[in-house]
């Protein structure tokens, strides 16, 4: 009798342990719809938050490196017109996916944007990087100290930001994004995919002028 009750007790405890373990596991790995986000053939779930109306019929996926001067050119010459005519009018949204390959400071700069995203300041930080970019690669303008200074200028919580950046919390996220670029045949930055609602997909390589984007976007909207 004692032996039977002992076995029964072990079984009951085992069942309880399994249930508790599975409950705690499901709590830790909360299913995040954003993680599975795709645009055409590209997994963008690890990229930036969407810029613009999430329901817009067309999405621009930009692959970029924060140290790339052509990305800087596109950011200053072409993007403002796309913002004005397409994103702010709800016709198009944009997602930025890191392709950090140019220098040793590139991955760190990309990681810093996600540390800013933890405080809901992704796009503000992204903009401050492209506004502050210097023409020389790895000359220190995107060093850890400078990345922290950019965060300070945006009034981010510095304890949280520093811990995030120093721990390389988003290292794998940036690596994943760079692999997405390679897997989708991107061979330099900036690289773009314009994805329509019917999964029609058009690739654009380089910092091309607004007229090219306008022609493609107008044909898809």
């Amino acid at each position: 009798m004692n032996k039977k009750s002992g076995i029964l007790g072990v079984v009951v405890i085992s069942i309880i342990v399994v249930i508790v373990a599975s409950m705690s596991s499901s709590t830790d790995e909360t299913f995040d719809v954003e993680m599975t986000r795709t645009h055409g053939s590209i997994s963008t779930g690890m990229g930036s938050p969407l810029l613009g109306d999430p329901l817009a019929p067309v999405t621009i996926v930009e692959f970029g490196d924060y140290q790339c001067h052509q990305c800087y050119n596109w950011f200053h010459d072409t993007k403002p017109m796309i913002m004005r005519d397409y994103i702010e009018t709800g016709k198009v949204n944009l997602v930025f996916v890191d392709f950090a390959f140019l220098g040793r400071d590139s991955p760190k700069a990309a990681q810093a944007t996600y540390c800013a995203d933890d405080q809901s300041m992704y796009w503000e930080y992204h903009n401050s990087l492209y506004t502050s970019q210097e023409s020389k690669i790895d000359n220190g303008w995107a060093s850890s100290e400078r990345l922290k200074a950019f965060a300070f200028n945006l009034n981010l919580d510095m304890d949280s930001f520093n811990e995030c950046l120093d721990s390389e919390k988003y290292s794998k996220r940036v690596q994943y994004n760079s692999q997405q670029a390679r897997d989708n045949g991107v061979r330099g930055t900036p690289g773009f995919f314009i994805v329509g609602s019917d999964y029609e997909q058009q690739q654009i390589g380089g910092a091309q002028p607004f007229s090219v984007f306008k022609r493609i976007l107008d044909s898809m909207i």
Partner: protein, 159 residues
């Protein structure tokens, strides 16, 4: 000086060679430097702040188109040494390499193939694109004047 140029470029072969060198170098460098795009549409574009790069490419292509045929003329017609030819080729290559390895496909290919060494080389060529192009132009100008001087002496052209 102009008499020498007239002598060389009155020959159709040297004139054609010059046109080919200028146009091919100009087009390739403009594509590499993203002033010309072929896909998805043919489009030309000079971003603000890139005007100096465009001007240097034009000067580099023009000087290469001038100096390389002049040195070939010297070698073919005067059976002279190939020493100065090396200077013109070197200047053209140095000028072309600068800026080619930026964030575009060539830079990506170099970094993918050679890893950190490729990344360092790419960073150097990108960071010093303008000074390298100016040095290449200076090399071509020196080669141009020494070639003119050499042709003056060797051809015994009197002005």
């Amino acid at each position: 000086m102009i008499e020498i140029l007239k002598v060389i470029f009155s020959n159709f072969k040297f004139l054609a060679l010059s046109v080919i060198i200028f146009s091919s170098m100009m087009i390739v460098l403009l594509i590499i430097s993203e002033f010309i795009f072929l896909e998805p549409y043919f489009v030309t574009h000079i971003p603000s702040g890139s005007e100096l790069g465009f001007i240097l490419i034009t000067i580099l292509s023009g000087l290469s188109a001038l100096v390389i045929p002049m040195n070939l003329f010297r070698i073919i017609h005067l059976k002279n040494s190939k020493q100065k030819m090396g200077g013109s080729i070197f200047g053209a290559i140095v000028g072309s390499a600068a800026g080619a390895c930026s964030c575009g496909p060539i830079g990506f290919a170099v970094i993918s193939t050679f890893g950190s060494v490729g990344a360092t080389a790419t960073a150097f060529l990108t960071n010093y694109e303008i000074p390298i192009r100016i040095i290449a132009i200076l090399i071509l100008m020196i080669t141009y004047f020494t070639t003119i001087k050499s042709l003056k002496t060797e051809c015994k052209i009197q002005f």
